[in-house]
């Protein structure tokens, strides 16, 4: 019985973490209809940026939780502006192929410069240690991951569904021509959406840096993407088809 509780709790922890991870993918896919194959790569970049902030600038975990997603999000917007933008109007599969190529480049470059074994990053002192729940030992950091993931998911939902900006975003992807007629800068909306999705991936990267050595190891980040793609496709099987059947 004890083991069952422990496993359930671990399931909750993993679930919330994956939810955060797939959120960015879902945002990009849901709004832009692009399967972002580079999601694993930008996720890994988030962890790397956190590492550089700490080791080059002495900036710790907490600021990195904000800075890293912003930096990587800007990088994502740059990618959207310079490359993905030119694929609008073409079959969405080209978006998949392009991001696949980008993933190869990003992973290759990181691997060449930082090796294949990963880099160390430790849990911030405030979140070290654990609690004995009676049926299991819960590391505080895991608890933090659950709480933080849920908050971010809720905030993203609120941003897209309940704010004016979110309404613009949804409208811009639903019917770009009409929204443009209202004087909304549609390309900027799309760039922002992609940046948001990529930033969320990077945020998950920072969050996972202290517990998952592997995510510093560029190639393996792909395995994560698979889990996510399946998740995204299962969660929103209808309404997002976007194409005449």
């Amino acid at each position: 019985m004890q083991a069952l509780y422990a496993q359930l709790l671990v399931g909750l922890i993993n679930g919330s973490f994956y939810a955060l991870l797939s959120l960015g993918l879902a945002v990009i896919f849901g709004m832009l209809n692009i399967i972002n194959f580079a999601h694993g790569a930008v996720y890994m970049m988030g962890a790397f940026v956190a590492y550089f902030l700490l080791n080059l600038a002495g900036i710790g975990y907490w600021p990195a939780l904000i800075i890293a997603p912003v930096v990587v999000g800007i990088f994502g917007m740059f990618l959207e502006r310079t490359m993905l933008k030119w694929l609008s109007g073409l079959d969405h599969l080209y978006g998949l192929l392009l991001t696949f190529g980008l993933a190869l480049i990003i992973q290759g470059v990181f691997q060449n410069y930082f090796g294949s074994s990963g880099l160390p990053y430790s849990i911030p002192d405030e979140l070290k240690g654990g609690m004995n729940l009676g049926f299991m030992f819960l590391p505080i950091y895991r608890g933090w991951v659950v709480v933080f993931s849920l908050i971010v998911c809720l905030l993203t939902w609120y941003l897209i569904e309940r704010t004016r900006l979110g309404a613009y975003l949804r409208a811009a992807t639903e019917n770009p021509t009409l929204v443009r007629a209202f004087g909304v800068n549609v390309p900027r909306m799309i760039t922002l959406t992609y940046g948001l999705g990529v930033g969320l991936a990077a945020l998950a990267g920072v969050l996972s840096a202290p517990i998952n050595q592997k995510y510093f190891y560029p190639e393996a980040s792909n395995t994560v993407v698979f889990v996510l793609m399946v998740l995204v496709l299962l969660v929103k099987p209808s309404g997002l088809t976007g194409r005449a059947a």
């Binding site: 109007g89 392009l98 190529g101 190869l104 480049i105 290759g108 793609m229 088809t241 005449a244 059947a245």
Partner: protein
């Protein structure tokens, strides 16, 4: 619906003269390879991948379906052929037959699941299925996991052709490639191929004309998978091993890359693309660390500026269909 390929293959019955000339040229070139001193194993490897890419192209170029899991056919047929040769001690022709049949069976099973969806969903489902298979092969004892099946005896084809001889092996592989290529060529120029093109252009209309489009797509999928498997069986004789890399999803990515570079939906594009990519892997191996990055750059450049591919651009320039 926007078609994935920008290479326009006329929907009406067409003149295949250009293609015939190109085919003759290609065959002649390939026939003299062993006399030129070009390293034959490189060409053999490239031929296997060329056939694989052609099989993949059949699905996307003419059926509009991008499979991101074609490595599963390559690997499955390879494993079965290798196992048949090494453990069951079958003759090469039987081993190829068993391997290809295995791929066909896999095509039927996965096709029934995958064909129900289109576009990105089809890609993702094929990807998921091939990943599933990858983990199965990682676990099953007969594949020997990460070690793979090694030291496969090549044997004598039909009891007379000694496949351990590189020149004989070369012509056997070439014959296999040409057989597969012609089969695909025949298919796309048959009434069946015309219906496929009609479905790609406008599935609704094809349905309204009374075609059972799902059945056509499934048949194309199975044929494509079977031929990909045939390529995998041939490859076993060239590489003398069967390993997990052939089922890994990066292999599926490479197949897409080859076809993209050569020209999606062109007849000869996949062949050219396969030679380019295999040559790159072979000759860039000395550059070591940058192979992945170079591959990624080619992907990006192709998608952004070069969507017709090498052959597609040439064909477009001369207004021919190749």
């Amino acid at each position: 619906m926007t078609a994935i390929t920008e290479n326009s293959i006329p929907v009406t019955a067409r003149n295949t003269k250009d293609e015939m000339i190109a085919f003759g040229l290609m065959t002649a070139l390939l026939l003299v390879v062993p006399l030129t001193g070009v390293y034959p194993f490189f060409v053999m490897q490239a031929l296997c991948f060329a056939l694989l890419a052609c099989a993949f192209n059949l699905l996307i170029g003419y059926g509009g379906l991008l499979s991101f899991g074609h490595a599963m056919f390559l690997g499955t047929a390879g494993y079965i052929t290798a196992h048949a040769l090494k453990v069951w001690g079958l003759t090469p022709e039987l081993a190829i037959l068993v391997g290809t049949a295995g791929a066909a069976g896999l095509g039927i099973v996965t096709g029934v699941v995958a064909i129900r969806r289109q576009g990105i969903y089809f890609s993702m489902i094929t990807l998921a299925l091939s990943q599933l298979l990858y983990f199965i092969y990682l676990q099953t004892p007969f594949t020997h996991g990460e070690d793979g099946i090694q030291g496969i005896p090549q044997g004598h084809l039909f009891g007379i052709f000694n496949l351990a001889n590189p020149t004989i092996l070369y012509y056997v592989v070439l014959a296999g490639f040409l057989f597969g290529f012609l089969l695909i060529f025949r298919t796309i120029n048959s009434p069946f191929g015309e219906v496929l093109k009609a479905i790609r252009e406008n599935e609704q209309r094809a349905i309204s004309l009374g075609y059972k489009t799902d059945q056509y797509k499934l048949l194309a999928y199975i044929l494509s998978g079977t031929l990909a498997g045939f390529a995998g069986s041939l490859k076993v004789f060239v590489a003398q091993n069967a390993s997990l890399t052939d089922v890994h999803w990066t292999m599926s990515g490479e197949i897409v890359l080859m076809t993209l570079v050569g020209g999606l939906g062109t007849v000869f594009g996949p062949v050219v693309g396969a030679f380019v990519i295999i040559a790159m892997q072979q000759y860039l191996a000395g550059f070591g660390q940058w192979v992945t990055v170079i591959q990624g750059v080619i992907f990006v450049v192709c998608v952004l500026t070069f969507r017709r591919g090498v052959v597609g651009e040439i064909a477009h320039h001369f207004r021919r269909s190749l």
